[in-house]
Amino acid sequence: MAVKLSTVEKPLLEATRDGFGRMLAALGEKDSRIIGLSGDLNDSTRIDWLKEKRPKQFVQAGIAEQNMVGMAAGLSLAGFVPFAATFGAFTFRAADHIRVSIAFSNLNVKIVATHCGVTTGEDGGNAQVLEDIAFFRSLPNFTVISPCDSLEAEKATEVAAGLQSPVYLRLGREKVPIITSAETPFSLGKAEVFHDGDDVAIIATGLEVNEAMIAARALAKEKISARIINMHTIKPIDEETIVKAAKECGCVVTAEEHQVTGGLGGAVAEVLGQRQPVPMRFVGVQNRFGESGKGAELLHKFGLTSEFIVKAAKESVKARK
């Protein structure tokens, strides 16, 4: 077990986009093929940090996401390893370019989306993308990674740079607790069990992993032992860890800052429906758009905080019996 429950007591806070920006700049210094593209969001996406270190490895696309993604495809053909960064919501502007020029062409382009989920906050519902996992995980050739904290985002960025294929990296704007350490393993497509348990398996991604860890503590007080699984790679999904958890716990809860339709919950249900059907509950956004507010307020309003995971866990345990 790589993460101690105690680490959630007084965590350091940092946004996942910070981990990405730091690692991309470091990779760029070592490898001149790394190139960053921005759609007028240099600072917000942290792609600025690469630009500061290596100004020639940066391309400004302007507010033109379709062309940014298309140029990234062309840059990959010229031998570069492009990271095209924008807000998650704006990846949809370039959806057709992503599908045909990158996914269908299987080009080595990394789409980096910061500002995903309701914790995008004050900008409101238009900006809080909650459908991106559904889109990207349905695209053949794409790998989809959703790190739980900034250290994991660093590792994910390094792994993405090494893959010779399209990657979607899902990041957040808001500072979130650092719950992993430099030593926490990160292996693409291999989920990490952060806390062992055998009454209920809680499979979470992104900032919901921390909420799940808090939920595990609350559940432990009620003598419910929860297995917490950090599903950082949503595609390809770690079927074996999911099936094993379902077998050993008998019920499963998924938790994500995304619509429950088509997201992590859907991905886990697709696996269990075929291989190990068990009662499931889905913590996520229920067919709604977001709204303005502070991250913490919105996580609560949309049913994404730990108490909702606790409730879902208890329901799933009940359904198992």
């Binding site: 033109a64 062309g74 010229a78 062409s105 299987n106």
Partner: protein, 274 residues
Amino acid sequence: MHKQTTDVKELERIANDVRKWSIKMTTAANSGHPGGSLSSADFFTALYFSVMKHDPAKPDWDGRDRFILSNGHICPAWYSVQALAGYFPVEELMTFRQFGSRLQGHPTRGTLPTIEISTGSLGQGFSAAVGYALGLQLAGKPNKVFVSVGDGELEEGATWEAAMAGSHYKLGNLIAVCDRNGLQQNGSTEDLIGLEPLAGKYTAFGWRVVEAEGNDMAKVLDAFKKALAPSQKPTMILFKTVMGKGVKFMENDHQWHGKALPQDKAEAALKELG
């Protein structure tokens, strides 16, 4: 490297073959886009037999000029000119659009080695060509990037994003060729959603614009000569062409944009082309 020529008669003969194959393969497939294939046949032939540096024996040769077919639907002409240049046997053209064929309905990366990026959703290849030209420029390579676009394709907003980026980054190594046949699926471009003044728009967007008769081989060669003169600007060649060029009953009739000729009409067309 492919042996190039400036012999107009020879190039016209090859362009005629491109037209014949484009008709044969679309009729055999009972689908596809013959109209734009015929209007583009002359400048495609010029590119592969006179203008571009390329090597059919080594499609991934690093010294090659790059080519992207952004208007992917006119791939019958592109496939034909490649086969005639020696990239693959001409007989394979007759597998076009059929199950298991490398010659997919629209160019698909991973089939022919010359297809660098999948296209067919209009406007996308233009952006990829801008990125490709930028990448080659950043890498200090001298290669040119040629991108074929349809005139109707320029209704896609993303092509104007690409046009802005092309001039912003001073991509003198980028040459776009536009098949300005004036027709698209549902009729005349100017009736549907007017493109004119197209030359003025590209000039305003910071491009060098070359206008030429696109179905006159000597003029096509002259246009490429102008486009290859060193420039800080990307170049747009507006080739004024005739949809269905070479077959009288097809000429300037938009119904042949996306419809194959039935067998009897194909026979008549081939007879006319000689």
